[in-house]
């Protein structure tokens, strides 16, 4: 009675075979349109849905892609970054009717278990790895496994991977040039952790930009840990050096820096110009609104997904590095906002 709905059963009810139903379900050709109609009617009426696992087993693909977000998740999720990334990836997977599986590594010391889960055959067709810390063993693990993957960010070691990154260096350089053009002469830097490639790239880009115009941070440099608190602390330490501008390597740290500036009784942008990186914090959240280097996170997610797809189905075979440009969004915190922006 309550026999499970399967191809055979649908076929029985429509008076055709398993194979024919399969062809109809998959939109394959070579089915007489009359037959097709009959089968579709039965499917609609029964609410039949093909069994995903059976399909995966037989066809050797799952229609699922994994997103791996390793370590330090607790803190990272306060950042809109991952939300936006997930949004982009999800939009792209929805487009092609795939499903997104999320692998968040907790604090457990043995990343072992979850790493292995990621590369379990028959679970996902491929994974997107967000590995921005340098020397992350995860990348090596993935290289060893027989699982297509794409990295978001720039892995330091592996040149033989597909990856999608943003132009951290170029964006930071643009920030330097902008501050210089505003006439600032004592720039400071609140850098992101130097164990991340993004942190390194932003730092180098900024320093590079400065040196192009004959400026330098001298000892006006501190390293934060992405958090707002670290930005605040770094800024208050830097204030003793009397900088007239600061480039903060992330929005969140910049929010902290603004706070430190205001607590010190100084004015931004009057006394100090602030430029940040990310463009993820809603501008209206801060006062003054932050000038920042905007990175297209959602786009990165979409692109990574499409790239992974092409790796999975063999369209892309030679490692490829996609780099998205960044864009300086000028607002009030740098002191040069055009009236209507």
């Amino acid at each position: 009675m309550a026999r499970r709905l399967n191809l055979e059963e649908i076929g029985r009810r429509a008076g055709v075979s398993r194979s024919t139903v399969s062809r109809v379900v998959n939109g394959e050709p070579h089915v007489r349109s009359e037959t097709k109609k009959r089968v579709e009617a039965v499917i609609a009426e029964t609410g039949y849905r093909p069994h995903a696992a059976a399909r995966s087993l037989a066809s050797n693909n799952t229609g699922v892609i994994g997103l791996v977000i390793p370590s330090a998740v607790e803190t990272l999720f306060d950042d809109p970054y991952f939300g936006r990334l997930i949004l982009g990836i999800s939009a792209a997977t929805n487009e092609v009717d795939m499903t997104l599986a999320l692998f968040l590594f907790g604090e457990e010391p043995d990343e072992g278990s979850i790493i292995y889960r990621v590369v379990t055959p028959g679970l996902v067709d491929g994974v997107i790895v967000t590995a921005t810390t340098r020397g992350d063993p995860l990348i090596d693990h993935m290289q060893g496994a027989d699982m297509p993957f794409v990295v978001i960010g720039r892995p330091d070691s592996a040149r033989s991977t597909f990856c999608v990154d943003v132009d951290n260096r170029g964006g930071a350089r643009a920030a330097a040039l902008h501050l210089a053009a505003l006439g600032r002469r004592r720039p400071a830097l609140i850098a992101a952790p130097s164990n991340t490639t993004a942190g390194v790239d932003r730092r180098n880009g900024f320093l590079e930009g400065l040196s192009e115009v004959g400026l330098s941070v001298e000892n006006r440099i501190r390293e934060g840990d992405w958090t707002q608190g670290s930005g605040r602390e770094a800024m208050s330490l830097l204030l003793t050096e009397r900088p007239d501008a600061v480039f903060v390597a992330s929005d969140r740290m910049a929010v902290g820096a603004l706070r430190a500036i205001s607590e010190a009784g100084l004015n931004c942008p009057g006394d100090i110009s602030v430029v940040s990186f990310d463009g993820l914090v809603p501008p209206d959240l801060t006062m003054p609104r932050l000038t920042s280097v905007v990175q297209p996170v959602t786009e990165v997610g979409k692109r990574a997904t499409r790239l992974l797809r092409s790796v999975i189905d063999g369209t892309s075979t030679t490692p490829e590095h996609v780099v998205f440009p960044t864009r300086l969004a000028v607002r009030e915190s740098c002191g040069s906002a055009p009236p209507g922006s």
Copy 2:
């Protein structure tokens, strides 16, 4: 040569049968410890991992649970809420070695495709639905499908579902009592959308609390749409009514409200006490720091996951409503912060 690693192959190499290997892999008893060692050695050396799809097909469970976040995602992801929720759910799934699949509904009008994907047999063992809008058809769809599910929030219609919610009403009531205790006599309300049960509950809870102490909002009430911008607009409109306190139904709207207050040249908490709901915005982000009703989002996620597990394996059969208490975190924005908080 490059034959696929499977139970049979591992068995061949270890000199045992498929079944024995299966028992070892699954930690089942009745395997001689010597045999077990030999098999484990082969597994370790080959890096064998069982094929997830095959396993699912044979055992009829997938080890994957789905999280469904419907509609309006674009805006919602600026909110830390979903990040925290995902964190909690992910922590709980990791604990029991399950995988989390994410279903984000985009803006496409035909939610059809993705709704159907969610209930595809053999994809996930069950789903957690975050459906807070009233009359959401998704709940009905789920009821019709043969798929275990748990709702986060309070669905208005369905009484016959498992759900996990927070005490929105009680929290809002506490906010009202607190403001009254501070001597405020002209309270205002910036409510959350009335097409969400959380919005309704918070509104009712606040009004209930006020009436208990003989106060009322009169016409000092506006409805926002969860966004910061809407909070700002609502607040600036309310200011013409000269309220001396306001309860804002979400952190994000409260941030907007603070901005409106400061833009009007008024002082918080001096002129107006502000209490918000959520406790998700890092306190240091705002000035003054927000007093808010804190909801344990991560806990809700964990609990929902565990509840779903018990529904899946049949431990829980009768619909159950779990309600988490909320807690008023007093900071400066209400004007009564204890010195050391």
